[in-house]
């Protein structure tokens, strides 16, 4: 009796071994390229949140500079377009001709003059140069690029989340259930993959109205197939493992086994896929917006910026092209390298 009493809760003989995510995080922290990429990606995500909440690039649509204003580091450079825009304004003033004796509206002149006086016209001074130049309407290219980043990243992120959700759900069902359900889902998968991907996107784009929500839907609904394939293979592998059988033995339901027991063990596949699809969808969104099938005209994305840049380049205004492509290349490079590092860090074979 006393012996039992004396057995104090001794320190456990083995410490809890670190889980997959702890190990992965440790490995990722050692990966310098991965960490740098992570910082860049987080920076862009913060930028997106900032632009969404209006902290940065709030006034992106304000016409603050002259048309095609030069970047400030080439302030002296010749800018024919900007001068021309100014010249048109001056020549537009027509010499005044007095028509009051024949004009039937003449009695109303005084009233109109009074009303005109009531309206205050504030002539915003337009800057000759902007930090990285302006577009056709004199909007700041840097602010546009930030606002464009918000749209493009938001679309890529949400579409990738949706696609991963669809792919994981269907893949889990198909891989775990097999049989009739599996066959039906395989048929569904075959239907989507037998249509060339670009055609599938264009067919969807043809019937839906333009808008950010539409493009997210289209990308997600056409892009889930690769994730489905991988998740299904993982579920087939896991469904027959002992721990799942053990879960069945203690009476766990199918849903519980699928999503509480197996899902954590395949979630690293989903995460890598998610990351990969964000990159893919950002690229796709840029192309679709460029073609006018993406974001509506009143919003800006990297794709619409590139569409404007194409004609600007011919008249020598390269800054919008550079702003859009460099910011996009920076994010996509960082995201791709982060994906590679994540894949390495999460690979359970490397210990």
């Amino acid at each position: 009796m006393s012996a039992l009493m004396e057995t104090t809760p001794a320190a456990p003989l083995h410490r809890a071994s670190p889980g997959l995510w702890t190990l992965a995080w440790r490995r990722l922290k050692r990966d310098k390229i991965g960490m740098v990429s992570l910082v860049v990606v987080v920076f862009f995500l913060l930028l997106m949140v900032g632009a969404y909440s209006g902290l940065v690039a709030k006034n992106w649509s304000k016409e603050v500079g002259v048309s095609y204003s030069n970047p400030s580091f080439m302030a002296g450079a010749e800018n024919l377009e900007a001068q021309q825009a100014g010249a048109v304004d001056k020549s537009a003033k027509v010499p005044y001709v007095d028509l009051s004796d024949i004009d039937p509206l003449a009695p109303k002149y005084a009233e109109w003059a009074k009303r005109t006086a009531e309206i205050k016209i504030t002539d915003t001074p337009r800057a000759d140069t902007l930090l990285f130049g302006g577009d056709k309407w004199g909007r700041d290219v840097i602010q546009k690029a930030i606002k464009g980043a918000e749209t493009s990243i938001f679309v890529g992120l949400v579409a990738a989340l949706l696609a991963t959700l669809i792919g994981t759900m269907l893949g889990a069902l198909s891989g775990y259930m097999g049989g009739r359900v599996g066959d039906a889902l395989e048929w569904f998968y075959n239907v989507f993959t037998s249509i060339p991907y670009i055609l599938l996107i264009l067919a969807f784009a043809a019937v839906f109205k333009r808008g950010i929500d539409t493009i997210i839907f289209i990308l997600a609904f056409t892009g889930w197939t690769g994730i489905y394939r991988l998740v299904r293979a993982e579920y087939i592998k896991h469904a027959s493992r002992e721990y799942v059988k053990a879960a069945q033995a203690i009476g766990a339901s199918h849903t519980r086994r699928m999503f509480v027991h197996i899902l954590p063990n395949v979630s690293h596949v989903c995460l890598v896929q998610l990351s990969q699809h964000v990159v893919q969808f950002i690229k796709a969104e840029v192309i679709l917006s460029f073609l006018g099938l993406g974001v509506p005209v009143d919003s800006v994305s990297w794709g619409t910026m590139l569409a404007e840049a194409q004609s600007e380049l011919v008249i020598g205004k390269w800054w919008q092209l550079v702003a859009a492509s460099v910011s996009m290349a920076l994010l996509v490079t960082a995201f791709s390298m982060l994906t590679d590092s994540l894949r390495d860090a999460l690979d359970p074979k490397i210990k």
Partner: protein, 357 residues
């Protein structure tokens, strides 16, 4: 082998049916009333009703699905009234009045092989009134003129470069090249096209900025080189990365160590032993890319005004020309399935280990 091919073809049927169902649902249910799309600004109810009748969208959906299947199979568009002439169609609709049935039967007896049924007409584009099968047939040429050289050259270049990189694996050169590839892949295809078109076409005048002619050789010599080079340049980075990994997967195998152990030079090991085994995944990869050459790179076609399939579909999307999009999607899906089967069969010829199960 024969049984395998038959089974694969049998599996294609439900998939194709699914593709048609998807397209049908997309364009008839989600896309809104086709009559309204076609009518555009016409608000006259009677006229719209007429268009609906002409298109057959006043019929129940399973009948419409039948029309669509008929369109896909024959390239002819038949509304119900004209369809009544077909005996099998009458059978399908038991409610059709007896008189029409009798008339149809006599008609069928009189001209059993009369195709197309009277009143049917070739499926036409809503925008240009061109016959859709003809549109597709004329647009495939330019697309292939661009895409076949792209696929062939890109594969050759990527394989050669991948061997080179695999040869110097782990060195600074290798890491630098991989880094450059990652960065090159992250720049949008759009940027490459815009910049190349500006410099090569506009500024230096090496190639025409855009255009196409009726002469095949003129196309190959003057108009095609710039888009082809661009596509190869952009496609090279991802292909190189992928093929390098295929080579590296093979390099650590036992047979490579054996080959080295018996004194073979690194060249022979790489080019003979590793190459043969790495070719398998490479060929699979080319097989996956193969159906894509029919759609082509629609971006290139748009930028360089090449009258190919991709551009045609994009134009059709912009003017809601549903018949063209529907036809392109369904036929290219069929094409894809057939090519995939061909690739799988060819596989057997290359790798004797592959068995048909």
């Amino acid at each position: 082998m024969g049984a395998y091919i038959l089974r694969r073809i049998a599996q294609m049927v439900p998939t194709l049916a699914g593709v048609m169902l998807l397209i049908f649902v997309l364009f008839n249910a989600v896309g809104g009333d086709p009559a309204l799309v076609l009518a555009g600004k016409i608000t006259n109810k009677e006229q719209i009703e007429n268009i609906r009748k002409q298109l057959g969208v006043d019929q129940p959906w399973h009948v419409q699905m039948g029309y669509f299947a008929f369109e896909v199979a024959t390239g002819f568009n038949c509304t119900w009234r004209s369809f009544n002439d077909k005996p099998d169609a009458v059978k399908a609709d038991t409610k059709a009045d007896a008189k029409a049935q009798a008339a149809a039967k006599t008609d069928a007896k009189a001209a059993p092989n009369a195709a197309p049924p009277s009143g049917c007409q070739a499926v036409r584009s809503w925008a240009t009134n061109e016959e859709v099968p003809k549109i597709l047939a004329t647009r495939i040429g330019p697309t292939l003129t661009i895409m076949i050289p792209v696929l062939v050259l890109e594969t050759i270049f990527a394989v050669l470069l991948a061997i080179g990189v695999a040869y110097v694996r782990g060195t600074l050169t290798d890491r630098m090249i991989m880094m450059i590839c990652t960065v090159a892949m992250s720049i949008s295809f759009l940027v490459y096209i815009i910049v190349a078109q500006y410099y090569f076409g506009f500024k230096w005048g090496v190639f025409p900025v855009q255009g196409w002619s009726d002469n095949f050789w003129k196309n190959v010599v003057t108009y095609a080189p710039l888009p082809i080079m661009l596509a190869i340049f952009v496609g090279l980075a991802p292909a190189l990365r992928l093929y390098r990994s295929f080579f590296l997967d093979e390099i650590n195998n036992d047979y490579v160590r054996t080959a080295r152990a018996k004194g073979l030079s690194e060249n022979v090991v790489l080019l003979k032993h590793v190459m043969r085994n790495a070719m398998l995944p490479i060929i699979t990869n080319v097989g996956i890319a193969l159906p894509g050459i029919f759609v082509g790179s629609f971006l290139l076609e748009v930028f360089f005004s090449i009258p190919g399939l991709g551009r045609e579909v994009l134009v059709a999307v912009n003017r809601s020309d549903f018949p063209v999009i529907k036809a392109a999607t369904v036929y290219l899906a069929m094409f894809t399935m057939i090519i995939n089967l061909t690739v799988d069969i060819t596989y057997k010829a290359i790798d004797p280990r592959v068995s048909f199960k």
